[in-house]
């Protein structure tokens, strides 16, 4: 991550003009700088920064660094941005030969990650590159998520995923993550308590029975509110499907990070459960790893056999009558059509809704004629395309009411 990209929105004059002569104003200016960089340096947080400064020795740089940092960041990712901004901002103030305290600290701690240390060291070179960058126009790969993704939405929405170039893929990834997050933010709403539970709700029971003079006539019951697995994705990652699956998995990853109860399984020759692989990690890296382990073969796909494996091993544990299952495949099945339709029936009977996504559906003249698709279709509730961004948005709209019943 280069500094130029991070400090994208901050203009030269603004940056230099921010630095004031007094400590008080400088801290304020620094908080404003962080706000411009996308950290949530709110007013209340800024006030807390000042509050914390009265407890420490401001001249002790280590303490000063830690105090500012702990007040102003709220995730590990923000920590990097903070370190870079801190190094830059305060190194102008302090003696230029002196290293900013943040780096001293980090060098002590991170003996084993030399690359990180380098990255955070605001050396002369980086100051120079800041100068260069200030004269330049903003980099193409700006970190401004929202703007990039909105334009991406407009331009790339209709485009088939398979025709994307490398840099477009990066943009679309961000857009997908954004859509997923928006979708779930709307999803989270308070649930109405269920009265068909197994446990007795004593509080409500007593209230209900006051009318009978305190004798227990009616029993009120309650159910523990547990979110079970609500969304399962079974993804074909063989051969031509690869590029589509990776986008869908990206989409699922976005959902999974915001919503409890999302499971992801991929298959080509065999099934692999990748939920844990995707959890809280770098998606691109995880995807590479998945394709590494799974893409050992590129003939046809035996969907029936894989579904049978799913029903036998994984489905039992995670499917409930409320689960929505999504299968992504082009339906080119080399296996036994009878087996496929049997397994589809089993799957259908164990879940709430079954969605089949087929990227081929995106082309106008596609008809589900191949044997595999034909034998699976009777059990499918929704048959949808998934070839471009618009179709992903459409998928989101279909999923939303299903998981939020």
């Amino acid at each position: 991550m280069s500094l130029a990209k991070e400090l994208d929105t901050v203009k030269s004059d603004a940056f230099r003009g921010r630095r004031k002569s007094s400590m008080f104003l400088n801290v304020l200016a620094f908080c404003n700088l962080l706000r411009d960089l996308g950290l949530s340096a709110t007013l209340s947080r800024t006030i807390d920064v000042y509050r914390s400064l009265q407890f420490i020795l401001v001249t002790n740089k280590q303490d000063f660094y830690s105090a500012l940092k702990t007040n102003l960041i709220s995730s590990r990712e923000e920590s990097q941005t903070f370190d870079q901004a801190f190094g830059l901002f305060w190194s102008f103030l302090f003696d230029p030969d002196q290293e900013p305290c943040g780096d001293e600290e980090d060098e002590q701690l991170d003996i084993d990650s030399p690359t990180k240390g380098q990255e955070q060291e605001p050396s002369k070179e980086e100051e120079l590159s800041l100068e260069e960058w200030l004269k330049e126009k903003p980099d193409e790969e700006t970190e401004e998520m929202e703007m990039a993704s909105y334009s991406a939405l407009e331009v790339l929405g209709q485009k088939d995923f398979s025709t994307f170039k490398a840099e477009e893929i990066r943009k679309i990834r961000k857009a997908i993550a954004l859509i997923a997050r928006r979708l779930v933010t709307k999803l989270s709403r308070r649930k109405v308590p269920d009265s068909k539970g197994r446990k007795l709700d004593l509080r409500r029971t007593m209230r209900k029975n006051i009318k009978y003079g305190g004798e227990m006539v009616e029993l009120a019951k309650r159910r523990r509110k547990i979110k079970k697995v609500r969304l399962v994705l079974i993804c074909d990652v063989s051969g031509s499907m690869d590029c589509y699956s990776s986008f869908l998995i990206e989409f699922m990853y976005g959902l999974q990070n915001e919503l409890a109860g999302v499971e992801t399984v991929v298959f080509s020759t065999r099934l692999t459960r990748v939920t844990n692989l995707l959890r809280g990690r770098d998606v691109a890296k995880a995807l590479k790893e998945i394709s590494h382990t799974v893409l050992d073969w590129s003939g046809g796909t035996n969907i029936g056999k894989c579904l049978s494996g799913f029903n036998d091993w994984i489905g039992k544990d995670i499917l409930t009558p409320h689960t929505v299952v999504i299968i992504l495949s082009d339906g080119w099945d080399r296996g036994d059509p009878v087996l496929l339709s049997d397994e589809m029936r089993r799957l259908k009977s164990n879940c709430y809704r079954l969605i089949w996504l087929n990227p081929l559906l995106g082309s106008a003249n596609y008809q589900p004629l191949c044997q595999g698709m034909k034998s699976a279709l009777p059990f499918v509730d929704y048959f949808l395309p998934v070839h471009n961004l618009d179709s992903l948005i459409r998928l989101g709209k279909v999923i939303k009411p299903l998981v939020n019943r």
Partner: protein
């Protein structure tokens, strides 16, 4: 209650209780005590997040109240609940003695019939110094609980309709931990002091081992730490934390090993990795080659 003047005091006090931490964490803890702000700790599993709260209670010589979060955690298990069976018994007994209605009502909605859950206990604590409240693995709870917690943490007061508002006389020190299986809302994080606990450096980990595992030799400790540092650079599903390091070290001691060898490693590899995929990967990379690298680093 112990009074700390600087963050170094905190560092030393924690060290006395056998918790080795780095300076930023000590500063964060120091400020959280001074500013009465909750501490929000994130980090990989097994880097000692929960331990911070335990040691803090020890350092402050106060009670640790723990609230373990899980899906479906609600007000009646985290805050308070009326003891309904006891109330019903009391009513029946009052009926038998023909007691006046008002008195019965007053009686059954008193403290005696209230079951304290962790949050209420932390707020209502009146004797001694304010307790340490540990809200563990908040990422497992639902969003509704998070919103509710926000309310409690901002005022440290709880309203029970039948009794009234209970306000904390002394705010408890709050430690919230998260394993990051889902993102916690910014609103909650903003009310806290944030710190991400990294895996320890070699020097720090070796210091932890020597403090926490009695009877371990320096050589073995170094080998173990080099091994762990090496393994954490690899791409495993679940990289081992300090908890694993400590487990493994004591396992090796029980087997009376004073140095790492292939046999000892393959016997005890279950202490380090807890996923089949990780064990397979480890096997693929070759135990011998990893051990070779470890030995090279030791020399």
């Amino acid at each position: 209650m112990r009074d700390f003047k600087t963050s170094d005091d905190v560092l030393k006090a924690l060290e006395e209780c056998k918790y080795i931490c780095d300076h930023p964490l000590a500063t964060t803890i120091f400020l959280s005590l001074k500013m009465d702000k909750p501490l929000f700790l994130e980090g990989e599993a097994g880097v000692g997040k929960t331990e911070v709260a335990k040691v803090l209670a020890q350092v402050l010589d106060t009670k640790l109240i723990r609230l373990q979060c899980y899906e479906g955690l609600d007000v009646s298990t985290s805050l308070y609940e009326w003891n309904y069976p006891k109330q019903m018994l009391a009513i029946k007994m009052a009926e038998a003695h023909l007691e006046p209605k008002e008195r019965v009502e007053q009686e059954i909605f008193s403290q005696e019939f209230l079951i304290q859950r962790p949050l209420l206990e932390a707020i209502q604590n009146e004797q001694g110094s304010p307790p340490v409240l540990l809200i563990d693995e908040i990422d497992r709870s639902d969003e509704e609980f998070e919103a509710f917690l926000l309310e409690v943490l901002s005022d440290f007061q709880i309203t029970i309709p039948e009794i009234g508002t209970i306000k904390a006389k002394h705010k408890p020190s709050v430690v919230i931990t998260s394993n990051r299986t889902r993102e916690i809302r910014d609103a909650l994080k903003r009310r806290c002091l944030y710190h991400w606990i990294e895996y320890p450096s070699f020097a720090k980990e070796s210091q932890i081992l020597l403090t926490k595992v009695p009877g371990i030799e320096r050589d073995l400790a170094d080998q173990i730490c080099h091994f762990m540092q090496l393994v954490r650079q690899g791409d495993y599903l679940k990289r081992p934390g300090i908890a694993e390091t400590l487990d493994w070290a004591s396992a090796l001691l029980y087997l009376s090993k004073d140095s790492l060898d292939p046999e000892a490693l393959s016997d005890t590899v279950g202490c380090i990795f807890k996923y089949k995929e990780d064990l397979d990967r480890m096997e693929k990379e070759g135990l011998d080659s990893i051990l070779d690298q470890v030995m090279k680093r030791c020399c």
